[in-house]
Every structure is written in C-alpha cells, then in structure tokens.
Amino acid sequence: MDSTIIIEKSIIILVVFAITMLMAMYSTLAERKVAAWLQDRIGPNRAGKGGLLQPLADGLKLFSKEEFEPDTPNRFLFFVGPAVAMSTALMTSAVIPWGDRFHLFGRDIILQATDIDVALLYVFGVISVGVYGIMIGGWASNNKFSLIGAIRAASQMVSYEVAMGLSIIALLMMTGTLSLREISAQQPGMHWNVFYQPLSFLIFLICAFAETNRTPFDLAECETELIGGYHTEYSSMKMGFYLFAEYANMFISATILAVLFFGAYNYPGMAWAVENWGVNIANVIGIAVLFAKICFFIFFYMWVRWTIPRFRYDQLMHLGWRILIPLSIINIIITGIVILRAEIAVYLGF
C-alpha cells in the first residue's frame, strides 16, 4: 500500500513538473506571439510549424552562449541566485489541485502532489522566498544597475505581499480553510469565489502582477532605466533560468488565480458529468477546464503588458500602501459584517 502511494505521488510530481516546464517554455513563445499580434505583426514562425519549435531554439541558443562572469567578490552567491529563483518557482506547484480525483485500478487517485492544510500559506511562503533569488542575484552581480533593480524588486514584492495577504483574508473568512483542495471543492458549478469577492479578486490580481514583476509593475527590469535590472550581468543559461523562473511564476500565479477565484477545475454540469460519464471523464474535462482558465490568465498577463505603460516608482508605492492595503482592510470589514449580520442583528436587538 505504501509503495503504491509513493509511485502514485512520484508520477503526479513528475507530470506536474513536466507540465510546469512545458507551460513556462511555451509561455515564452506565446509572449512573443501575442506581442507580435497585438502590434499587427506575425511573430516568430520560422522554427517548426508556425514557430512551435522556437522555445527549443531559444534554449539551444542560451545553452551555447558564452558563460560570462563579472568580477564579483561573491562568486558563490552569483551562482545561487538563479538557482533559488528557479527552484522557488517550481516548488509552488506541489499544492495545486489539478483536478478532483481519478478512479483507477480500484483506487481513488487525488490529482495533487500533496494536500496540506496550510497550502495557501505554503504558497505565500515560497513566493516570498522567491524574492531572495532576485535579491541575491542583484547583489552578487557587483553592478549598480543590478543592485537598483534587485532593491526595487524586493521592496515592490514585499509591499505588495501585504496587500495580497490582506485581500486573501477576506476570501479565507468565507471559505474557512487554507487547503486549496477544499477551496476548489467549495466552488462547484458556477459558484466561483470571484462572484462573491470581486474586490478581493481585483486586489489579488493587481498584486499578482506586481509579484511576478510583470508590466505595469516591471520596474525591477525596466530596460530604459536599468538595462536589464537584476539580471544585467547574467548570461547563458543562468540568464535563461531567471527568465524561465519568471514565466514559471507567471504560470503558477495564473493557476492560483484560477483556483482561488475562478472555481479551479469546476465547470457547470460537472456533477452531472460525474454521474453519467463516470469520474475519470468528468475529471479529464475538469483538468482541461482548469488549463483553459490558466491559459486565459497567462494571455491576460500578456494582453495587459501591451496595454498599460509602466508605473513610476512613487506611483507604485502609493498604489500599494495607500490604496490597496486600506481597500483590502475595508473589504475584510465588509465581509465580516456580511458573515456575522445575523449575530449583529441579534446583538443590536432587531
């Protein structure tokens, strides 16, 4: 029994890892394609059919590039930076419920690497460790631009984590659990959290953009001011790791958005599908639905990138500390009043 669980979990972990890598890989192509389309161009279409092999060509190019090292006193940290960024980007996917369950070989297989009670806290923890990858890289580069980029990234991510955490609290007051599996199970059909917590969703969305360092919050690597930001001094596959980690982060944050607010793998008529077509088929559709939602959010990231210009740094801090945080606290209060309205009415003697 124990060995079967280990095999089952190993397979799930491998598949999730592969899918995360694949999605990150093809996000790079999608980014270039969407950018091109939104600018009335065609985009990369020479490598493979319609440019499908472009990510492989890019990877090959990065591997064969010269590995340049700046004259840095912190050679060890210089290597650790990209590794931390990459590993934290991949760690988050462990707690995501990709689907409800499969019924195979007389066993229920839960489509999740691990179902821990504090899944959401774990995600937040890992994301905040992700700052260190950028911070260490920028520090060890021994370059002013890298350092400024790293400091900007760090202060931005720390500020927006506060608003992000507070916006989630309103959601957690409703769900009453931190387990992502239970949160997804609480949103059957079209009872998605976004309809009950629209303000929380909006704040979370804005913070997710800031956390992944995407436009309009890409001050950490704004080319016009900082050359390349924290990865100015990086070359070859170390640079590739940073870029890859960014896309993996984007995939993960799109997944979290879909799971927390857009009903995860749930779709209207899932209960009917389970009854009539069986658990397996219903869940295959569920996984496809989840990925459709994820792809939409990834597209949304790219769509916004070519719409909204970059914030100025003081505007960024103003938005984070003086608008989003008070707004999320107000949201918590309103949620609390709505949840406890019966008790409050009794207390006030109505």
């Binding site: 389309w37 939104l38 600018q39 009335d40 161009r41 065609i42 769509w303 916004v304 070519w306 719409t307 909204i308």
Partner: protein, 181 residues
Amino acid sequence: MSIETISLSGRKKVVSNKEMTFFERMYLIAIVKGLMITIKHLFTRKVTIQYPEQVREMSPVYRGQHQLKRDEQGRENCTACGLCALSCPAEAITMKAEERKPDEKHLYREEKYASIYEINMLRCIFCGLCEEACPKDAIYLTTSKVLVPSSYEREDFIFGKDRLVMPLDIAMQNAQLKNAN
C-alpha cells in the same frame, strides 16, 4: 473672434486641467477601454511581409545599381568630363581621364575616356543626380534588384569599371533589338 479660438486645421484642442472625478481616478474604465483597443489589433490584418517568399513591390522610379552605358557599336559613352563627380552630393565618384589612342576607336566613343572610374558604394546614396548631370548618356541607375553585396573589406565596396561598365554582349543585343524595331 479672439486669436485663442481660431483653428485653421480644425483640430485645435484647448488643454483642460480639470479635476478628475473619483471614477476617473480609479482608471479601471480607462484600463478596460485600453484593453479593448489592444484586443482589436489581434484580429487586424498583419503588415509583415514574409521576405524571402514574398517580395515587396518595387516603386516604378526605383533606382538601383549604376551602369556605364555603351553605344550601338559597343563603344563606351563616358568621356570623363567629371560632371557626375561634381554633381554627386555624397562625393562617391572618382575618375581619371585619358586620351584615346588611334587604335582604340572601337572601344571609346569620344576622344577622351575614363581610364579609371570608381563609385564608392558605401558613400553612394542612390539619388540619381549623376544620371541627371551626365551630358553623354553614359551613366544610368538601373532597376536591378541586386543590391550591393556585403563584404568584410572596405575595398570591395569601391566598384571599378569592371563592375560598372555594361557587358559588351548585352550592348550588342540592345543594338540588334533597336535595329529590328
């Protein structure tokens, strides 16, 4: 009518610094509007020309590689007067004149000819002023789509008579065509 309100182009707009309302300051509607504008471009016709397969149509007044012409008998028209070099705004043309020997009458039309005629293709801007200046119909900018080939050496971009003069067989073909007409 005061001078501030006159608009000859009809597009004059007075800058307004009015205070934004609360909803305007949230920018949410503005952002949604912006998103709608960008998404429209997803479905517009793409302007890219897939170069090696598709070739952009050339202008009818396209000016390409220079050529030094020969007349119907295959003699070079150029008399090395230097007007092309004088008219060249980029100073790309240099030449050296020589007197025609009696046994070279079949090679050069005039009594004086250019023994060296060089155009520096790194300087040339293909304006066609040399063609306009030439009194002997000697230099023309062709419609050839073969552009100056790339090279590692600067010397390779200085085109001498070997690359500029019209090949003899083509001159003879042209003469035959003209006679036939």
